[in-house]
């Protein structure tokens, strides 16, 4: 029983990370109808920048804020420089540009921070919390707390603020949004920034447990996308669910089956959902209008 609980805790930890990355995918998808293949690289940037700001002598909370804000700015910049100029938002070209962007971001990190893994101290050091025989690392609590804050913040942003309403309107119909005076293009930039910031937050929160390196983005990108697709791309809340489910599946597979299947699981989930139910398991709809 304690074992199962431990697996669940581990699954919810990884799942929260996947959820944040998946949220980034859905936000960009909602605003542009495209997948940002560079999303994983912002996760990498979050950790890398966090380490760098700490090495400059900033206290952890300030460094964390700086890292997330810088990554968000990088996301906005990327959208302005590479995605916005694409005429008509042709999805094929957005795919290629974001793939190119992911390569460039990864190489940039390699040139700036070197090939070796970098370390970040736990936000609050100390022994784990005990719960019915299972242990919860303090950093895991941080990961959960930050995920919760991000999700609640996002919900409030979307439901309660003018900005959020504009974002939602844009995602429903870009031309209609323009009619009511919303600058749809600014909303797209904002969505890239928001997605990058969420990815960076995930990368930052997990670095004290895993270290980080220039090449961690691609792998987490696939996991985050699998989570997003599991939830159905159109729906942010379902994406969070998708992330948690994927994390749990992986953890239980590593616990009760062979960990070899762990990587295969997200890939199989990805392919199975894409092939059998592209609109996602947890609702949402991505059906193209004829």
């Amino acid at each position: 029983m304690a074992e199962l609980l431990q697996f669940v805790i581990a699954g919810l930890k990884s799942g929260s990370i996947y959820a944040l990355v998946a949220l980034g995918f859905t936000i960009v998808y909602a605003a542009t109808g495209a997948i940002n293949f560079a999303q994983g690289e912002f996760y990498m940037l979050g950790g890398m920048l966090g380490v760098w700001f700490v090495s400059l002598g900033l206290p952890v909370p300030v460094a964390a804020l700086c890292a997330v804000v810088s990554a968000a700015a990088a996301g906005a910049l990327f959208e302005l420089a590479a995605v916005r100029p694409i005429a008509g938002g042709d999805p094929l070209r957005i795919i290629i540009v974001t793939i190119g962007g992911s390569v460039v971001l990864r190489q940039l990190a390699l040139h700036l921070f070197g090939p070796d893994e970098l370390t970040l101290a736990s936000f609050t050091p100390g022994p784990s919390i005990r719960l019915f025989g299972a242990a919860i690392e303090r950093q895991t609590l941080w990961i959960w707390a930050l995920t919760l804050v991000a999700v609640v913040g996002l919900v409030i942003l979307y439901r309660r603020t003018a900005f959020g309403k504009a974002m939602r309107a844009t995602s429903l119909r870009r031309d209609a949004a323009r009619l009511v005076g919303i600058d749809a293009r600014a909303m797209v930039t904002a969505s890239f920034a928001l997605a990058a910031g969420l990815g960076a937050l995930a990368g930052l929160a997990v670095t004290p447990l895993t270290q980080t390196a220039f090449d961690v983005g691609a792998g987490i990108g696939v996991k985050g996308f699998s989570a997003a697709i599991l939830g159905g791309l159109g729906n942010p809340i379902a994406a969070v669910g998708g992330g948690l489910v994927l994390g749990l599946l992986e953890s239980l597979a590593a616990g009760y089956l062979d960990p070899i299947y762990k990587d295969a699981i997200s890939l199989i989930v990805l392919l199975a959902v894409l092939f059998l139910r592209p609109q996602g398991l947890l609702g949402g709809s991505g059906k193209e209008k004829v």
């Binding site: 074992e3 431990q6 697996f7 805790i9 581990a10 930890k13 990884s14 990370i17 070197g114 090939p115 070796d116 893994e117 370390t119 101290a121 022994p127 784990s128 242990a135 919860i136 690392e137 950093q139 895991t140 997990v206 004290p208 447990l209 895993t210 270290q211 390196a213 090449d215 961690v216 792998g219 987490i220 953890s251 239980l252 590593a254 616990g255 062979d258 960990p259 070899i260 762990k262 990587d263």
Partner: protein
């Protein structure tokens, strides 16, 4: 008619390519008349993931070849070192080896830096009958035996029994194993299983993880529940840090439920100690004695070789050599030793035979004795135990 200019332009490009290729061919043939240098090739990762390792190796090789040439080379023939960068990429390693063999006609290849790259070039090495001395640690390099391929670092085949022996001596009989599914751990796992059976150690939990995994709590939970009295971690990846942190989170690093952790050469990395912090406190691993040169004893020949090299290296580059520089030093030493025996005119096959006859050659990593069945050449005598304290290793005894 407007297309005529394109035809002309294409013809120009074609003739340029052909001309350039011709020059390239001439360039390599032109300068062999003046002296008769012995050409040694090196395939190193000067860029990409292993850039730091390859750069240290390059420095060691250049340092040592300059020293040999200053003292008259091999019977008056200078050594010409041709270094190629494989960019930590297997396809490029193949091309680099190919260039060294086909274009530079080297008599031996030092390298590569990484295990994958070392494995990748053996096809060319075999076909050209040129010996290869790898500086990478992967057991497969000499375990998947190839008559032309030798290796200088301590291999899993000696490190595993050494570490297991240490575990046994600490009074433990039930161990848990956690290995990666990438190259290093996958290599080590069968060796550990066989060796443990031989020593009478029982593996009560046998877990694996994938490179890139960010949480190993599930595996460690099972290990904790297995009743193992020691955990052997076999990986060279950054995930080792995550494992130690997860273990600490599960209470396996301190207090009543603490379990000793052991490892191998893969943990002789500063990033591991630094990243794991107090989670790795007391972590014991086995690897070469040369990690701390005083291990050898002040009067030993090994100490002299290691400290002389360290002095020269530091004088030339302003920093102490790391073990990768040391492994390159050994590779160069072994080839030079074989060249002295086989003569400056020896071809690849003769040099290979001479390398295989290496006996009792003292180098950085220890004493090399190759044979027709052993192309790693080191023994457990060349190993030592280390323990992490305050994020840095120190001799365990």
């Amino acid at each position: 008619m407007r297309n005529a200019r394109w035809v002309v332009a294409l013809a120009l490009v074609v003739s340029m390519t052909v001309g350039m290729s011709g020059c390239g061919a001439q360039g390599t043939q032109g300068d062999s008349k003046t002296a008769e240098p012995i050409k040694l090739g090196a395939v190193l990762s000067l860029t990409g993931t292993y850039a730091a390792l390859g750069t240290a190796e390059k420095q060691a090789l250049e340092l040592e070849s300059a020293r040999i040439n200053k003292s008259g080379g091999i019977d008056g023939h200078p050594i010409e070192l041709v270094i190629e960068d494989d960019a930590t990429d297997e396809a490029k390693a193949v091309a680099a080896a190919s260039k060294l063999i086909e274009q530079d006609e080297v008599v031996a290849i030092l390298g590569a830096t990484g295990t994958g790259q070392s494995m990748a070039i053996r096809g060319d090495v075999d076909r050209a009958q040129v010996p290869q001395i790898s500086m990478a640690g992967g057991t497969a390099i000499t375990q998947q035996f190839d008559a032309n391929v030798f290796q200088t670092p301590w291999s899993n085949t000696i490190v595993v029994p050494f570490v297991l022996d240490a575990i046994k001596k600490s009074g433990v009989s039930q161990i848990a194993l956690i290995t990666d599914t990438g190259g290093y751990g996958k290599d080590g796992k069968p060796i550990i299983e066989a060796s443990a059976a031989e020593l009478g150690l029982k593996i009560v939990a046998n877990e694996t993880f994938n490179p890139g995994d960010t949480d190993m709590t599930a595996q460690l939970t099972k290990i904790r529940a297995s009743g193992a009295k020691a955990v052997l971690l076999w990986t060279a990846g950054k995930e080792a840090t995550t494992i130690m942190k997860n273990a600490q989170g599960l209470g396996m690093r301190d207090g009543a439920t603490a379990v000793p952790f052991f490892g191998g050469s893969g943990q002789a990395r500063l990033e591991f100690g630094e990243g794991s912090g107090d989670a790795a406190e007391g972590f014991t691993f086995g690897t070469g004695k040369s990690l701390v040169s005083t291990n050898w004893g002040p009067d030993s020949e090994e100490f002299k070789v290691v400290s002389d090299f360290a002095k020269r290296y530091e004088a030339a580059y302003g920093q102490a050599p790391d073990i990768f520089a040391g492994h390159a030093f050994d590779a160069f030493l072994i080839v030079v030793n074989a060249l002295k025996a086989a003569g400056p005119d020896a071809d690849g096959a003769a040099i290979r035979d001479a390398i295989e006859a290496t006996n009792g050659l003292v180098g950085f990593a220890g004493t090399f004795t190759y044979s027709a069945t052993d192309h790693n050449g080191l023994t457990t005598e060349d190993l030592s135990l280390y323990r992490f304290a305050g994020g840095m290793w120190e001799p365990a005894e």
